[in-house]
């Protein structure tokens, strides 16, 4: 039964390099401890080449100008370990979480899927590299041999069955003690190594050559077990783990970040990592959560009448920039306040599961542009809620629909322009209150095909639409016998004149049991519109109207005369060529007693 082991050498350094891949060619040392007692915890190969070793103090390594020092980040190590598990899970469901830097997986039955063992090992190495980790991969026919090979040999190693002792022979004895690198390594481990060193046993081949009985007499069963491990004779069962579907990336910043543009670079890298992990598990993101830890001691500028979160960052066409925080013109016109340590969280709900890092980045950028964090950023935490990817079978005869990714991006851009509450589809509410609707996220359903189509025949008479005036236009209405006779709308010069026809009133009321009750009378009125910028086009209509008037019945002719007389009235309109009949909805608010022109029929 073949097994594979993925081992990431210098794991703390690799976790840092995963977040900052541009440092991969440089000498990097990871520091641990509280300042000023920081010591080197881990180094990469380049740092060791120039003489940097673990345990050196920060003061000792500072003279190396080419050495990059980074603090140890538990968040980044957790994310790197999760990525390692995701990589293993993308190959086999039986994965053992041996150590933060070591993962074992069962390869039985995978030859038919991925090919031979060398191919599987190479593919594991490639996929690990895609996740930002440079790892050693080894395959063998028992887990411990695979682990020793991965710890001892760089790159990809494949150990055939029965050749374990031969292939592992050149490895030092250190590989048998995984906890040796840790500072709290047990005393017995040190004693074993010291004893072997005194015997002149310095590699596994020498250990295998020792007589088993004599070894048992001197070192006990533990010594025998070590020898069997070196020979590759011990096989054990894996302890499989089922890693939780948590896709999170975090980054701690050395210096507070005040610009959104560099933040976008960080987000791009984190999104790439999250998407790679999701892709490794054949999943997509349904929701993105961005949590920013802000500087607690930051003094920010905030207008008293503004939204609290809009304090520092000015909204401009270009990149976000911080306003004068401590001095400057903005500060002189604004009050100051100090906020405690706080977290700034934004959540992006996606209409469909997506897996496109560029789309995610643009959505986050647009969202942060509309909702700036308001203070310098110390820590970035990004999490994705996994979901099964969308599987849609397109049809030749289905109408085209916008791609969800493009549509979401377009809607985000438009929302940034007109406002989030002004884009979307609408939902009518179960109420007779005027304007009883609410905006909601636009997510059209997939077309179902021709079978669902009903009532497709065009209508011979479309429904008359009402165009709303938002807000309603306040009007001065002259009453005659309790009915509106003359309407003047100060904000609309064209709504001015005598009412020619009207229907109503239609009374309605509701919500009287609440504070915002409403009661109103509606009138449908017709009046001449004297719009200065709506000249009646002299076209075929004018000729047809006159002809129709002469040829029509008595009803039409009589009303034509009636209207003609009113059209020529100098009171209502200056010129008949600039007048037209318009229909309006006039509303009398019975609670306030005011009149409004609510809309026009068009």
């Amino acid at each position: 039964m073949p097994f594979a082991c993925i081992f990431v050498p210098d794991f703390p350094v690799e976790a840092v390099l995963r977040a900052a891949p541009e440092l991969r060619t440089q000498s990097v040392a990871v520091l641990e401890g509280k300042p000023p007692l920081q010591k080197v915890f881990a180094t990469n190969e380049q740092a060791r080449a120039i003489g940097v070793e673990s345990g050196m103090t920060k003061i000792q390594v500072e003279p190396w100008t080419e050495l990059v020092l980074r603090p140890r980040s538990s968040l980044q190590e957790t994310a790197a370990h999760a990525a390692l598990l995701d990589c293993a899970q993308s190959f086999s469901p039986r994965v053992e979480d041996t150590a933060p830097d070591t993962v074992l997986l069962d390869l039985s039955g995978l030859e038919s899927l991925f090919g031979s063992l060398p191919k599987i090992a190479c593919e594991i190495g490639r996929r690990t590299s895609d996740l930002g980790l440079e790892a050693n991969v080894a395959t063998a026919f028992n887990p411990d041999t695979a682990m020793f090979a991965a710890r001892g040999f760089p790159g990809v190693t494949v150990i055939p069955e029965g050749k374990e002792a031969e292939r592992l022979g050149n490895l030092p004895l250190d590989v048998l003690f995984p906890d040796l690198a840790e500072p709290e390594a047990s005393k017995s481990t040190a004693n074993f190594l010291e004893t072997f060193d005194l015997w002149g046993v310095r590699n596994l081949r020498a250990l295998c050559a020792l007589p088993e009985v004599a070894l048992s007499e001197r070192l006990g069963q533990h010594g025998v077990r070590l020898q069997q491990l070196a020979r590759g004779l011990i096989s054990r069962t894996l302890v499989p783990v089922e890693p939780a579907l948590v896709f999170e990336e975090a980054m701690e910043l050395d210096h507070p970040l005040v610009l959104l543009e560099p933040l976008a670079f960080l987000l791009a890298h984190m999104l790439d990592q999250v998407c790679a992990r999701l892709a490794a598990r054949a999943l997509a993101a349904q929701e993105l959560r961005l949590q920013l830890e802000l500087d607690s001691g930051f003094h920010f500028v905030d207008d008293l009448d503004c939204h609290p979160e809009r304090g520092v960052f000015e909204h401009s066409e270009g990149p976000m920039h911080i306003a004068a925080a401590a001095s400057g013109s903005s500060a002189t016109r604004s009050s100051r306040a100090t906020r405690d340590s706080r977290h700034f969280t934004r959540t992006l709900q996606l209409p469909v599961p997506m897996l496109d890092a560029k789309v995610f980045l643009k959505l986050l950028q647009l969202d942060l542009k509309a909702h700036p964090p308001g203070a310098p950023i110390l820590k970035v935490h990004l999490a994705a809620e996994p979901a099964q990817p969308r599987n849609v079978q397109g049809g030749l005869f289905l109408p085209p629909t916008p791609e969800p990714e493009k549509l979401e991006l377009t809607l985000a851009r438009i929302a940034g322009m007109v406002g989030e509450d002004k884009v979307g589809s609408l939902q009518l509410l179960d109420s007779h209150r005027p304007e009883a609707f609410r905006m909601q996220r636009f997510s059209p359903a997939e077309p179902k095909g021709e079978k669902e189509k009903t009532n497709d025949a065009p209508s011979s008479a479309p429904v008359t639409a009402l165009r709303m005036f938002r807000p309603p236009l306040r009007a001065k209405v002259t009453l005659h016998d309790g009915k509106p006779k003359h309407v003047v709308c100060p904000k609309r010069k064209e709504i001015h004149g005598q009412i020619l026809w009207m229907a109503g009133p239609w009374r309605s009321s509701g919500d009287w049991w609440e504070q915002d009750g409403w009661s109103r009378d509606e009138w449908d009125i017709a009046m001449q519109s004297c719009g200065a910028d709506t000249p009646v086009r002299q076209s075929i209509f004018a000729r047809q109207t006159s002809v129709a008037g002469r040829q029509s019945s008595g009803k039409l002719l009589a009303l034509s005369h009636q209207l003609s007389a009113k059209e020529q009235s100098p009171v209502d309109c200056q010129s008949t060529s600039k007048s037209s009949l318009a229909l309006y909805r006039l509303v009398h608010d019975l609670l306030s007693g005011q009149w409004f022109v609510e809309g026009t029929y068009d």
Partner: protein, 326 residues
Amino acid sequence: MSSLLIDLEAAFSFPVSSVPQVRVRSLDTNLGTTQISVEAEPPLSPQRSATLLKQISSIPKLAAVTPASRLEIRPAPDRASSGTSPLDSLTGGLPRGCLTEICGPDSSGRTSLLLSALAAGTRREEVCTLIDVSDAFHPHSAAAAGVNLERLLWIRCGANTQSSLSRKRRNPTSLEEWERRRVEDPVEQALRAADLLLQSSGFGMVAIDLAGVPLKMARRIPLTTWFRFRRAVENTPTILLVIGQQSCAQSCASLSLQLQKSVLSSRFSVPSEPSPNPQETFGEPCPSHTKLLNGLEIQVEILRSSTERKPVQSTSAFATKTAWTA
């Protein structure tokens, strides 16, 4: 046989330095074959002329030149129902991949036709968009017209409340403020939104409602904008529909309709028993609460149709109904 003079150096960057005497070349096209002849002073030798012709024939751009006689006729655009049968019989439907303009004064039925077209589009399970410049859309009218509101994207242009919060901090005379004001202009927002939507593609209909915009503002929209929109929807199944008071897109519109309400079109009537006497039906003796608005009578005229040179019929009339009489 037609002849075309081409300066090869200017048009195709052909190196003429190898043949410094050759200054003018002629390209003769003859219904399916392209013949190239070279005129040079002094005359070239036959061998060198053949070499030169071979080099010229290998120019990819020259091979891509299509004679005018072989240009294909642009196929007529597909038509989609406007949801109103009289309009469909007049125009054949709304052309896809084209810009259609419906203009007319207030109460001329522009919005009714718009809702009818949106209802037809959503019935076809297409995703439709309404860019509402003056925020005049009435959802209940749309629902009564049969618009599937789940498939309608409504964009309400106007001042962005979020960005206007920090307005007091800006110097109103600064360039930034002018730029911000330009961005917050509803017409500008509508045009930008239309640009984004048309580039996004996949929409069955994109409607721009300019009916509430003053004419002087609508006329300020550059013609290049409409040309860009027309090019954006070209070769796509999207219907770009614009309603306004007057035609703004001019020649960029493939179909332009002018609406006019009949002078006496507002049909008030008594619901129960209409009186034969018109004075009782429409005049004062009949109390107003017994009257009912039944709809509008609309006349429509084709102002421009790029697909039909001379329509059989250029005008039509139809009536609308109200939601409470439907």
